[in-house]
């Protein structure tokens, strides 16, 4: 087909798209709904008795490929509710400046203490703004909607049938 006809056909396509409704979501005004599993930031959780779930086992610190988690393990304490001895973390830092959001830390957590949240952190004016300190992580538990996944669910998904075989 010659140039004029090709041009007309191409114009047909663009004009068709001109009248289609735009797909833009006006971000600051409207936030696009994210999928249930969407992972964008982190939070540390409390259990139903408002006890910190993190036991300072360092599993997440070890698995992190990017080595952004730094935990100071605290002394063993007796759990108020169960009465069992359990570990604590006196400090927990997750440095978002180098995080790759791979969800491995969530998967390896034995107590489902760390999860991911569905809204991202705000951009900061300095690197320090992006450091998720323990305070921020626990604050995220309340401020940001949690993503679907935690260690139990992730492992369950992967090992459900495998266990059956054993």
């Amino acid at each position: 087909m010659g140039y004029p006809l090709d041009t007309l056909r191409a114009l047909g396509v663009t004009l068709k798209n001109l009248v289609r409704p735009p797909t833009t979501v006006e971000y600051p005004k409207v936030t696009r709904p994210r999928s249930e599993r969407y992972r964008a930031s982190f939070a540390l959780l409390h259990d139903e008795n408002n006890e910190e779930l993190c036991i300072g086992c360092l599993a997440c610190e070890r698995i992190c490929p990017s080595q952004v988690i730094a935990i100071t393990a605290g002394p063993k304490i007796q759990s108020v509710t169960t009465g069992k001895k359990r570990g604590t973390a006196t400090d927990f830092t997750l440095d978002l400046t180098a995080c790759i959001f791979c969800e491995l830390c969530v998967q390896v957590c034995p107590t489902d203490a760390i999860i991911m949240t569905r809204t991202q952190e705000d951009p900061g004016f300095s690197r320090e703004d992006l450091v998720l300190t323990m305070d921020k992580l626990y604050k995220n538990e309340k401020d940001r909607p949690a993503a679907w996944g935690n260690a139990t669910k992730l492992l369950g998904m992967q090992e459900q049938e495998a266990k059956k075989d054993e």
Partner: protein
């Protein structure tokens, strides 16, 4: 002295129209790509051109150390001047014209041809390879398409027997739009004119000189701030003016029913402008050698044939 008044009015209107033509183009391009375009600066992003202008005015001025300073600084101004000056002979309504020269068409063509000089100047003076290649391409392309442009615009001149744009519009008022009748030299001549105008104002598919996927930003690669702003503006002014000239030469200028002439003229100009931009945001671009080949091998003889066709129509119709 009403011409002086018109001069000032026309330039003012042209400059403001250009600003919002820019906005219009951005919106149009955005909608064609399923986007919204500027929405956040002012209502519907209408203040976007103002913000851009204010920003450009504040930007630091950088003169590259290897550049030819005088030419580097002069080029954007000349580009803008030549782009604006073209509009002097375009009638926007009965008597709404800055300079009713009886060589109107020639004036338009001459200034169109002059545009080559500052563009080349910018490319050369920048002492930047991309700019220089862009400048060379711009010159080659502009001169190649100047010939078909001249020949295409000669068709209305022959039909109306005058080079004055006002006379040509009058002729069309009495007969019909040249793009419509006589169809044979008229319509192809209009298309040829449109094509050549696209090439002259470096619009896709003829935007080789500023092909940013190859030449970064073409001749304006080294320009900062308002100097770049002038290039940017001149580009849009050129397109607007080309649309206006096309409207006057081929689409009957201000003639039209119901509404005052000025409305019709502006409507036709805007229509052509939008058409040019819809084409721009639809097509890919040619390569330089393909463009040159198109111009020299096909368009130049076609233009000549059209000119003689128009002459034959006039001779036989007049006899």
């Amino acid at each position: 002295m009403h011409w002086l008044l018109w001069s000032v009015v026309i330039i003012t209107v042209l400059m403001t129209t250009t600003a919002w033509a820019l906005w219009l183009e951005r919106k149009l391009a955005a909608r064609m790509g399923s986007r919204l375009g500027p929405t956040m600066v002012g209502r519907h992003g209408l203040l976007q051109p103002i913000a851009d202008l204010l920003k450009l005015l504040q930007k630091e001025d950088i003169l590259p150390e290897a550049a030819d300073g005088a030419l580097f600084n002069l080029a954007p101004i000349l580009t803008a001047v030549f782009a604006i000056a073209t509009v002097a002979v375009v009638p926007f309504g009965e008597g709404v014209i800055a300079a009713d020269l009886d060589i109107g068409v020639l004036w338009v063509l001459a200034f169109g041809g002059l545009m080559v000089i500052p563009v080349w100047m910018a490319g050369w003076a920048s002492n930047n390879k991309f700019a220089l290649l862009g400048g060379m391409r711009a010159v080659a392309q502009a001169v190649s398409y100047e010939v078909p442009l001249v020949l295409a615009s000669m068709v209305p001149v022959i039909l109306a027997g005058s080079m004055s744009m006002t006379d040509i519009v009058h002729y069309q008022q009495q007969h019909s739009w040249i793009a419509l009748w006589p169809t044979l030299p008229g319509l192809p001549a209009f298309l040829l004119f449109l094509l050549a105008s696209l090439a002259e104002s470096n619009r896709i598919p003829f935007d080789i000189p500023e092909a940013e996927s190859e030449l970064v930003a073409g001749v304006s690669t080294e320009y900062t701030g308002m100097k770049f702003g002038l290039f940017y503006m001149a580009e849009y002014i050129h397109t607007l003016v080309s649309s206006a000239i096309g409207a006057a030469l081929f689409l009957g200028g201000w003639s039209g029913p119901f509404a005052p002439g000025l409305h019709w003229m502006l409507l036709k100009t805007l229509g052509l402008f939008v058409f040019i931009y819809v084409v721009r945001w639809t097509l890919l671009r040619f390569r330089q050698d393909q463009l040159m080949r198109l111009a020299w091998v096909w368009l130049v003889p076609m233009g000549l044939v059209l000119v003689f066709m128009a002459a034959v129509v006039v001779v036989w119709g007049g006899a």
